[in-house]
Every structure is written in C-alpha cells, then in structure tokens.
Amino acid sequence: MKTQDLIDRFGLTAAAGKDGTDREIAGGYCGDLLSEVMANAPIGCVWMTIQVHQNIVAVAVLREMAAIVLAMDNQPDPETCEKADREKIPILLYSGTSYELAGKLYGAGIVNKTAGE
C-alpha cells in the first residue's frame, strides 16, 4: 500500500509533504520519544505520534519513513509543515486515536518484518 492509498482508504488529510505520498509503506510504529523512535521504528514505516514540533521531520527523513501521522486532530507547527514540504515527508492528520489507526493498518496487511529492517 502506498501513502496515497492510506489517505484515500482511511480518510486522512495531508497537512504537508504532499509530494511524497507515492512511497510504499513498509510498516508502522507508534512512539513519542524521538530517540526511541530513531532506534526502533522500521525503515519505510508510517509513524504515529503526538509530537508536532519540527524535530519529527528529521527523524522521518533519517529513518526513511513513508509518512508521519498525527492522531486525535493534533496540528503540526507551521515550521514542521515547511520542513515536511521541503523533505517530501507527508504529515497526515487523523481524527481518531493512534490505536484505532494502527489496528486498521495492521488489518490492511501492513505488518513489520523485523525492527529496523
């Protein structure tokens, strides 16, 4: 599944990074501590977080992520959107909880192989 399919299928909104929505999703991860995510999020994943600060974009780029999802209607900071546009990292908004979206992703066959691969 590509990020664009995820948006269409589960009703997410792209707040930024719309040029990067054609990437294939290779897994999912939930986390709010940046160093923990850096160590454990699978390469190519969709990352669900409550962090809205611009630091999340570098983590996503360096971890080669497909997209960042902010659940519960959290809004990204303006600087976060500017960076995400520049780095082509989609920032997606979801009105439900991370738990709910993670369940949907898993149900759609997005499972992690091994952590970090």
Binding site: L33, L34, E36, N55, L62
Partner: protein, 148 residues
C-alpha cells in the same frame, strides 16, 4: 583514494536547522554507494550526536570523514560537559528539561543508541569543558562503490 570530509557548525537550540547535518551526511553516503544498513547506523549516530550538541551543548562542530576502511563521525561542543560519563551512558538517564521533553527529547537513549550503532565510540568530556564524541564505523572492502 582520497578521504571525503565535510563539516558543519551546530548552533545551540537552533531547531530550524537541527538535523540538517545528519541529513546531509545520509545523502552523501547514499551518493558514494555505501550499503543501506551501514548508512542507517551512521544516520542514527549522526542524529543523536547532532541533537545532543544542539540541545545540551554550545558552539557545536560536526565532522564526518570517509576513508577507504572507515567512516569517522566527530561531534564536539563547548557546552557544559558531562559530569559523569558512565551515568550519562545509562539507558534512560537524562537531564533534559521539561521544555525539551515536550519536544520529544529526554528518553535518555541518545548515547546508548550511538554506542550500539557504531563500531567504536569514544567520549571526552569534563564538567565545564565541553564534550567530544568520536564514532567509528568500519568499511568492508568495496563498500564505497561509486567513488568520486
């Protein structure tokens, strides 16, 4: 083969630019054909070192060198230094302020991540004297495919 070198200045608390040195290193390693698994390890170390210099340090300096047989990341700053290195290395130990924790820092995993993902890490630091972290990654022969 000539060594490739690049360096960056890191400004304390400059979150507008924090992460750019690491991303630039990631791109450079991709360009010269380093294997993806190694790039990912270097990316983690670069990010954690860069963020520590930006959040805990002052006047950071970030240098990378790619030789035939190894990659060296050398990240130093003139900040407050680390009082107890052994303690700082413990997973979960962090002096991050509430403000930093709200930004997602403060898991106390940066230094442990750097140690796990490098082949060798050396820290020099003293209270009031700044901090220098040098990480080395060995390159197997031929891993710099697209040499310039």
């Amino acid at each position: 083969m000539a060594a490739l070198k690049k360096s960056f200045q890191l400004k304390s608390r400059d979150f507008m630019h924090a992460g750019e040195a690491s991303i630039s290193v990631q791109n450079m390693l991709k360009q010269i054909g380093i294997e993806p698994a190694l790039i990912r390890r270097v990316a983690i170390c670069a990010y954690e070192g860069e963020m520590n210099a930006v959040t805990h340090g002052e006047n950071g300096n970030f240098r990378i060198e790619v030789n035939t047989d190894k990659i060296i990341l050398d990240i130093s700053d003139e900040g407050p230094g680390i009082e107890d290195i052994e303690k700082a290395m413990e997973k979960g130990f962090s002096t991050a302020t509430e403000e930093y924790r709200e930004m997602g820092f403060g898991a106390g995993m940066g230094l442990p991540n750097m140690e796990t993902n490098s082949d060798r890490m050396d820290i020099e630091s003293e209270k009031g004297q700044g901090t220098r972290v040098v990480m080395r990654f060995s390159l197997s022969p031929g891993s710099r495919k697209n040499e310039t």
